[in-house]
């Protein structure tokens, strides 16, 4: 026999049996008006208008809350059922039930067109792919290409050639791009070798070694006394790239603080994990001024100074072999200036 009153459990279950629509209610409109009046009152007259708005909002808010919680308070919700006449399909007949009289959407005849569903599926995937591609390709290009294209060459004005004393080493510190600030600061070991005869005429010769270690790119330091110990003050050149600081130094070689690679004064590797000699800067003389060009890689150097024979290679990153079988690991270098 049915219990007189449903147990809490079945009552709880019954909540799920039908949709729980809140009854239609107009009170939220009044509530909204009340809020607007409060806000307007805050600008015009907080003491009077806002209070009126607060009263309106409170009254209508209460009524709204009463409506919304009608079900919770156990009142039956009366919702006027929607009345809409059935649209008749065909002449005076409604459509047959879905499980009778075959498919509502007849299958295409043999050799007929592609079914509509298949067409929509293909169109969605195809159009989605096209749109996705149109968006992805330029965005991915923007993420990747600027790192490789239009890499600018920085020419660095290093000051008067005559300020470099013959056969003296300098540690030169300069900015490759002043607009970038100190993050573009680089250092090179520079020696004026005097002149060398080339094609029958005398041209200036400089040894300009990049201090970037060829192991993993740390800054190598000159091993030897410099500056005040030598009694030689550092000098400053003023070029187009800002000041260039020149510290006279007497190096026995160069050493890297990170992992201990050692190089002789021509940049040949003498110890440690570096894979080749130190890179060198190309240079040109313009109106008696020394101009640094881009760097190139060097496998080894035979001889010294103006008579040195330099085995040159295209610029490679630190840790990359430029000669021997290991060079085959790096067949394609990214675009470089």
């Amino acid at each position: 026999m049915e219990p007189e009153q449903p147990s809490p459990d079945t009552e709880h279950e019954s909540l799920h049996e039908e949709a729980h629509l809140p009854p239609p209610s107009l009170w939220p409109i009044g509530f909204a008006v009340g809020i607007v009046v409060i806000l307007v009152g805050l600008v015009i007259n907080p003491e009077l208008i806002s209070v009126i708005g607060a009263i309106i909002a409170t009254v209508f808010g209460f009524l709204w809350a009463r409506d919304a919680t009608a079900e919770l308070r156990g009142q039956a919700i009366v919702v006027e059922p929607e009345r809409r006449d059935l649209v008749e399909a065909g002449a005076g007949r409604t459509a047959p039930p879905a499980d009778q009289q075959g498919a509502a959407l007849p299958s295409p005849a043999e050799g007929g067109k592609i079914p509509r569903s298949r067409f929509l599926e293909g169109a969605t995937l195809g159009l989605g792919g096209v749109i996705g591609g149109l968006i992805t390709v330029p965005v991915a290009g923007f993420a990747v290409l600027p790192s490789f294209l239009r890499q600018e060459q920085h020419k660095v004005d290093m000051g008067e050639v005559n300020d470099y004393v013959l056969n003296r080493w300098y540690v030169a510190t300069f900015l490759t791009d002043p607009s970038e600030g100190t993050v573009s600061r680089r250092a090179a070991f520079i020696r004026n070798n005097g002149t060398v005869s080339q094609g029958g005429k005398q041209v200036p010769s400089f040894t300009i070694i990049s201090n970037r270690c060829t192991h993993l790119g740390c800054p190598t330091q000159a091993n030897g006394p410099s500056g005040s110990i030598l009694g030689l003050p550092s000098q400053t050149e003023h070029g187009k790239n800002g000041p260039v600081k020149l510290d006279p130094v007497v190096p026995a070689g160069y050493g890297c603080p990170c992992h201990g690679s050692q190089f002789d004064t021509e940049g040949n590797r003498t110890a440690g994990p570096a894979v080749r000699a130190l890179d060198r800067y190309g240079f040109e003389i313009d109106n008696g001024r020394l101009i640094l060009l881009s760097t190139y890689s060097v496998s080894r150097v035979v001889g010294t100074g103006a008579q040195a024979k330099i085995y040159k290679y295209k610029e490679a990153g630190p840790g990359e072999h430029v000669d021997g079988p290991e060079q085959w690991f790096y067949p394609l270098q990214p675009p470089h200036h």
Binding site: P8, L216, C218, G317, P334
Partner: protein
């Protein structure tokens, strides 16, 4: 036939209170299924003999959430420019109230996250929890570990002091020595031939947007697979697979574990009652 006495006032009041709590939940559940979803997600059956080792995954997840939250807050004060990065770090650490704590949480939490991932990985390995059918989840976990390490690499540059700068120089050049594509990868990471302001903003973007997004997506996949496949028993478990008594009723297996489930359109068409 049982006649029930009418409920007392206290019982009615109690019922009212319960309705007050359950009504909003019912409202939410009816419209979203979220209550059931959360219950399915959190209140799962697990083997009875799991132990504390199996909380390492949740611990790693917690560490990641700490990183995400503290990172978002640090991003409110950090400036990813060569001129502003280090001063903003100094400002966070020394001047802003509790900045030292949040930055410390992020900095040390990074190590905690990696360590917990390794411990979690060790547990999964030693328990054999990577075996069929959970191989894919091992792979997803390895990807999360790799992404976590990329977070460490990109985050290390952001203080923009000498340690950060030269460690990143060495790190990028290490990548550059990889055969064939190494030099290209290094140039992509540097955003050009040399480390510059663009490198810093690039690492910042990777560190706080791209990689965390990827980690969140992978964690979602990881958790989905954990819930779908269930938690493994420890190797010493009596409940472990193959340990059931011989006369036990064979438990029906879900489709997909031992026999392939019918899938997709073919399955729908083969459904009983479907139109032939």
């Amino acid at each position: 036939m049982t006649l029930r006495r009418p409920p007392s006032r206290a019982e009615i009041r109690r019922q009212r209170m319960e309705d007050l709590v359950t009504y909003p939940l019912d409202w939410l559940e009816e419209r979203s299924g979220l209550v059931g979803g959360v219950r399915y997600f959190l209140f799962r059956n697990v083997p009875s003999d799991i132990n504390w080792m199996q909380t390492l995954g949740s611990a790693a997840l917690t560490a990641f959430l700490v990183q995400a939250i503290t990172g978002v807050i640090l991003a409110m004060y950090y400036q990813p420019t060569p001129q502003g990065a280090y001063p903003s770090i100094v400002n966070i650490t020394n001047h802003l109230t509790l900045g030292w704590l949040v930055r410390g949480m992020h900095r040390w939490g990074a190590s905690v996250f990696i360590i917990l991932m390794f411990l979690h990985m060790g547990r999964v390995f030693l328990f054999g929890a990577y075996k069929y059918p959970r191989e894919l989840n091992w792979i997803v976990g390895v990807l999360i570990l790799v992404m976590g390490m990329m977070e460490g690499f990109t985050g290390y540059l952001l203080p923009w002091d000498q340690t950060a700068y030269w460690a990143t120089v060495v790190g990028i050049n290490l990548n550059g020595t990889a055969p064939f594509l190494g030099p290209w990868l290094a140039q992509f990471l540097r955003s050009g031939q040399e480390i510059s302001a663009a490198t810093l903003t690039r690492f910042y973007s990777l560190h706080m947007l791209l990689i965390p997004g990827a980690i969140m997506a992978l964690i979602g996949l990881h958790l989905y697979l954990v819930i779908r496949l269930g938690v493994t028993s420890p190797p010493w478990s009596k409940e472990a697979a193959g340990m059931e008594p011989a006369d036990a009723e064979p438990t029906p297996l879900r489709p997909g574990l031992t026999r392939p489930a019918p899938r997709g359109i073919a399955a729908a068409q083969a459904e009983p009652g479907g139109r032939e």
